[in-house]
Symmetry: C2
Subunit: 277 residues, 2 copies
């Protein structure tokens, strides 16, 4: 008799619920998105759906209708009536007995949660501390996949150091991005950030930050930074869907500027609000 | 109201079953082992438990008693009465609402399956074809984690090419290992394989292959190979827990030797049997 065990409980394999055979758990074989609402309105849904479709395509998950995903997001959101919500969803390739390869007829699993966002106004007004961590991730970080072990290990390491985010540094000694955010510096009065390649996620918030930057006539330089350049920058901030712009006032124990959110960071936060209204 | 959606079904978040909040699915935050039995006897249990304990420790999953894992493996195996069984188990950090960092009191989830192994005698007597794939994996492949997306994508690519295994080639143009196996070549009458570093898994079967090699006075060289060197080798084979040694007779369309399992590969397969009895 073929069996499964969940903790100490033995279950005949034929009676195992499909969720236990989810390829999301066996292999991280799935992709996800996180989006948010501001005051009852979902922000940047099109951008997130577009990126999601690309992620699905890159790992060859087929049979997902993006219109249906849009409908589910809206249906779920309408059911919650949360003004400032965090909307998470993932699709895994499906449930099947564990085997590296998959069959063409496997049916994807869809899962979504909608929760209330914590208020981030204190982080926005005081700024956060970040610490660096070697970038141990795989070579296709442009795909928003469920393979996030390096991210959570780096984030936990940051937390141990009293920091709110980990900033990845690659083998060449260059900053790629944060464990769950895009990373920006103000250097000589210009906005600098990592260029989009296979080693970073095409962040939706990054796109809006760059747009905000242009709106306030702040020049944008897409060029990787070293940790030394970041530590010596005039200003630093991260960008993340759930909180948009968060000033960084400490980088690996080095205080940035006067230890308060910088002038341009404040201007960008203000400009970002115009996208939300 | 905070909610989850499973497909089209809305569930209040408070009523969601913990398995849906498994960090194994959200992040691939877990580690696993695969072992097998030969003729009713579990093979190399100690080696697998030792590696499992190391994997847990490397990603800081605490609260797992290895004696309890051993007991569960034996209990499950005794319940199945399968002579040639594939025993898979994983531990994830536990179930919690999705958040990168974890709390100290989170309780790990244990999951195991025991299934009947397919007969591999035909693969052993005829050999298999393999194809190369860029090694896109993370930098800690010495940890046997659930972050296996690059492995399954490579394996699927191999299947499309009519091959049974993908062989990873790193940025330096060197072979690391197979997507689910260790890789070996016979070159100038010596056994050559990748040295153990953070970029490959410390394979249990590899250890026994090296022991078998010494037993038949075959010199072992731990040095990485290029795909060119592999294609020109006298013999090739992979080593994997579920099938031990499998000859490779085709490497990226190039026939190896006379297209049949080689002399040393056959000797090693024979010697391997002495470990099983």
């Amino acid at each position: 008799m073929q069996i499964a065990m969940i903790g100490d409980r033995i279950v005949p394999l034929a009676e195992l619920e499909p969720i236990y055979n989810d390829r999301g758990t066996y292999f991280g074989d799935g992709v996800y998105e996180v989006l948010r609402s501001y005051n009852g309105k979902i922000f940047a849904l099109e951008e997130h759906l577009q990126r999601f479709a690309r992620s699905l395509s890159e790992i060859e998950i087929t049979g997902i209708d993006i219109e249906q995903v849009r409908w589910r997001v809206k249906k779920g959101f309408d059911a919650t009536r949360i003004a400032n919500a965090r909307i998470y969803f993932h699709v895994t390739r499906g449930s099947a007995p564990r085997n590296h390869t998959w069959k063409a007829d496997i049916r994807p699993n869809f899962f979504l949660t909608i929760t209330e966002l914590a208020d981030s106004s204190e982080e926005k007004s005081r700024g956060i501390a970040v610490s660096t961590h070697p970038d141990w991730r795989w070579k296709r970080c442009d795909i928003k996949s469920l393979n996030l072990l390096p991210n959570i290990l780096a984030r936990q390491d940051a937390e141990k150091k009293g920091c709110s985010e980990a900033i990845f540094v690659d083998d060449a000694g260059l900053i790629t991005e944060g464990a769950g955010s895009a990373f920006f510096a103000i250097i000589e009065g210009k906005l600098q950030t990592t260029p989009l390649k296979a080693n970073i996620l095409p962040s939706v918030t990054r796109k809006f930050v760059i747009e905000a930057s242009r709106n306030i006539s702040l020049e944008v330089v897409e060029k990787s930074l070293t940790p030394k350049q970041a530590a010596d920058a005039e200003e630093l901030f991260i960008a993340v869907t759930t909180k948009d712009i968060i000033p960084v006032v400490k980088f690996d124990c080095k205080v940035i500027g006067d230890g308060k959110p910088g002038k341009y960071t404040n201007l960008l936060m203000q400009e970002f609000r115009s996208f939300i209204l």
